[in-house]
């Protein structure tokens, strides 16, 4: 399949978007002092591609019937999603400052009834894929051409319900279902391998009737191409296994053995944000230069 792909300038924009998501995520978590840093960072690039290029949505009309849906099944990584939604204008960026405070519309695990742009409430791992299957079935019944995306953790794949849903999706040929697994090889208490290994996720999904794409989960172009190909799929549901690093792009967290749910102080946050801002400056320069060259 010859899918169109991102231009250089579009790719740079996406990279800037991903860095902005990371900055806001760090700031949000630092404001409450503690949070799920690792999993928010590892999924940030995929979230950037979803909201920066792949998904059909309208921030002014978050309930638009024809929108694509995202089931953010690893709901504890809410901060990365909130950052993307705020940047895209689903709600005021001011809201980010009050994440997890009493009365906030942004709870640590995503909740559809509180946040514009969040379609499905999650937080209990393992449930999201079934809901995504239901959404995709409804689209098919109604003849809608929307896609349903489901973001899951690799640790989450230890839940049996994931495989009940996968079996069903494969058997029902839900070709507009696109699953993304944040395969960061770590869960809450350490490495999956040492706890209860999920083994070869690609092979497992393949057995259940999925088309499998294995990509570098921090390479935006690769993620984008995989999603474009998945969208063309008429015979099978798709899964994109994102090879990721827990804590990626957050200077203090990336080094830590355990960065799952950690305290973050202002100093750490400032240092990490600074690095990301420098990266954004560099990307802007690169775009300018590219622009000059193109002329």
């Amino acid at each position: 399949m010859n899918s169109p792909c991102l231009s250089n300038a579009e790719l740079i924009d996406l990279e800037i978007f991903a860095a902005q998501i990371r900055i806001k995520t760090i700031e949000m978590i630092a404001a409450v002092g503690k949070g799920h840093v690792g999993g928010s960072m590892s999924i940030a690039d995929a979230v950037a591609v979803l909201y920066g290029s792949a998904m059909r949505y309208d921030p002014a009309n978050p309930k638009w019937k024809m929108r694509d849906r995202l089931v953010y099944s690893k709901g504890h990584s809410g901060p990365a999603l909130y950052a993307a939604l705020a940047i895209k204008g689903f709600f005021p960026q001011e809201w980010l400052k009050r994440m997890n405070q009493i009365g906030s519309n942004l709870p640590s695990h995503v909740h559809a009834r509180l946040t514009p742009g969040v379609d499905v409430s999650t937080g209990s791992l393992g449930q999201g894929l079934s809901v995504a299957v239901g959404l995709a079935m409804a689209d098919r019944l109604d003849g809608r051409d929307s896609y349903v995306y489901c973001v899951m953790g690799d640790g989450e794949c230890q839940e049996g319900q994931v495989w009940e849903a996968a079996m069903f999706a494969g058997n029902h040929i839900l070709n507009r279902l696109i699953v993304l697994v944040d395969n960061n090889k770590r869960q809450c208490s350490g490495e999956l391998k040492k706890i209860n290994d999920v083994g070869d996720l690609g092979r497992k999904f393949k057995d259940f009737g999925f088309d499998v794409f294995e990509v570098n989960g921090h390479d935006l172009a690769q993620i984008d191409v995989a999603i474009r190909q998945a969208k063309q799929n008429t015979f099978k549901p798709s899964v994109i296994i994102l090879d990721t690093i827990k804590g990626k792009g957050c200077s203090f967290a990336e080094q830590m053995a355990d960065n799952h749910n950690i305290t973050v102080n202002t100093e750490q946050a400032v240092a990490a944000v600074k690095i990301l801002e420098t990266r954004i400056d560099d990307l802007n320069d690169k775009r300018e230069r590219g622009h000059v060259n193109e002329n």
């Binding site: 503690k34 997890n100 709870p107 209990s124 640790g155 208490s189």
Partner: protein, 330 residues
């Protein structure tokens, strides 16, 4: 049962999370049947590291798979092991109810199910993680014992009794519990409520660390107004201490229940059931009024759901005035 009360507000030497890790570690050492099971929520960091090193096969982290954990625990128990399962309250009841019922209680297993972070103590984890229904759900399972110890000393004894008694246990565990209600030398019995003080005007019956702490403060607030409130620690929700409830009705003629959970099916319900079948009196229920949890800090959440000492004291006054309307002069 023998009770030595601590001075109100006495700080505990350790948090109840530490108590749990220490006790399970000690049990693993002294009783080779004991298995500590975790569904990726950090029990491994609570157990003493030397115990995990010494008995690596008896700390089992099944990963994110609570129902599987329960099933495995039941199987272990059928071969004379004594498994303690550990996860958050929100998963400890919701995700495993069928397994706890069928493989567990119905099948005659002996599993000690520990649910951590009850009710609003889930704080910034938010509504998805706020279990207001867990104890009520477990209470409806035949032969399930349901307890929520209120401090470290009681907690330690409850764990030990549960280990040595038959059947299924649901143990609600407030990890951040940090004050003592009881001094060393106190001994407890499952199914026997503890009377912290007697009263003449109203009796407050509380379940769990958070509510007992607030209730104790409410007793002090009421005393300032000349109201004598009795206080009962109902750490066993099931089997509930019927005698203690009937005695309280006779002693004070009205009751308040205080619970960190939905009042539907919880302590308020259990106390009402006993009164309806024995001797009834006005009852005011402090607890979550059939609502979902929300994200926030503990102090704000206690206010939001009306679980504070002031709320309990106000409920006590409502109960007293209802009693007086029923029996003028009483």
């Amino acid at each position: 049962m023998k009770i030595n009360l601590a001075q109100p507000g006495t700080p505990a030497e350790e948090s109840m999370a530490d108590t749990l890790g220490r006790c399970l570690g000690a049990f693993m050492e002294e009783d080779l049947r004991v298995i500590a099971m975790d569904a990726d929520v950090g029990l491994g960091k609570m157990l003493p590291p030397e115990i995990i090193n010494k008995y690596p096969n008896r700390y089992i982290n099944v990963g994110i798979a609570e129902a599987n954990m329960l099933g495995i625990a039941c199987g272990l128990s059928f071969k004379d092991k004594v498994p303690f399962t550990y996860t958050f309250c929100c998963f400890a009841a919701r995700k495993v109810l069928d397994q706890a019922f069928l493989s567990g209680a119905f099948g005659g297993a002996h599993v000690l199910m520990i649910g951590a972070m009850p009710g609003v103590t889930a704080t910034i984890n938010g509504g998805s993680h706020m279990a207001f229904e867990d104890a009520a759900v477990m209470r409806a399972v035949p032969e399930m014992t349901v307890v929520e110890p209120s401090d470290m000393l009681q907690g330690e004894q409850v764990l030990r009794m549960a280990k040595d008694l038959p059947g299924m246990f649901y143990i609600r565990w407030e990890r951040k519990g940090d004050i003592r209600f009881y001094e060393n030398g106190s001994t407890f019995e499952i199914g026997k409520a503890v009377k912290l003080c007697g009263g003449s005007d109203v009796t407050i019956i509380a379940q769990g660390h958070l509510c007992l702490k607030e209730a104790q403060a409410a007793v002090a607030l009421l005393a300032l107004e000349g109201i004598r409130a009795g206080l009962i620690d109902m750490f066993t929700l099931k089997p509930i201490d019927r005698e203690a409830i009937v005695d309280a009705v006779r002693e004070t003629g009205c009751l308040v229940t205080a619970e960190n959970q939905n009042v539907l099916g919880g302590l308020g319900s259990a106390v009402s059931e006993v009164m309806a079948e024995n001797e009834a009196a006005p009852l005011e229920m402090v607890g979550i009024r059939d609502a979902f949890g929300e994200v926030g800090d503990l102090e704000s959440l206690k206010k939001r759901y009306k679980l504070t000492a002031q709320d309990i004291a106000a409920a006590a006054k409502r109960a007293i005035s209802r009693k007086q309307k029923r029996r003028p002069g009483a």
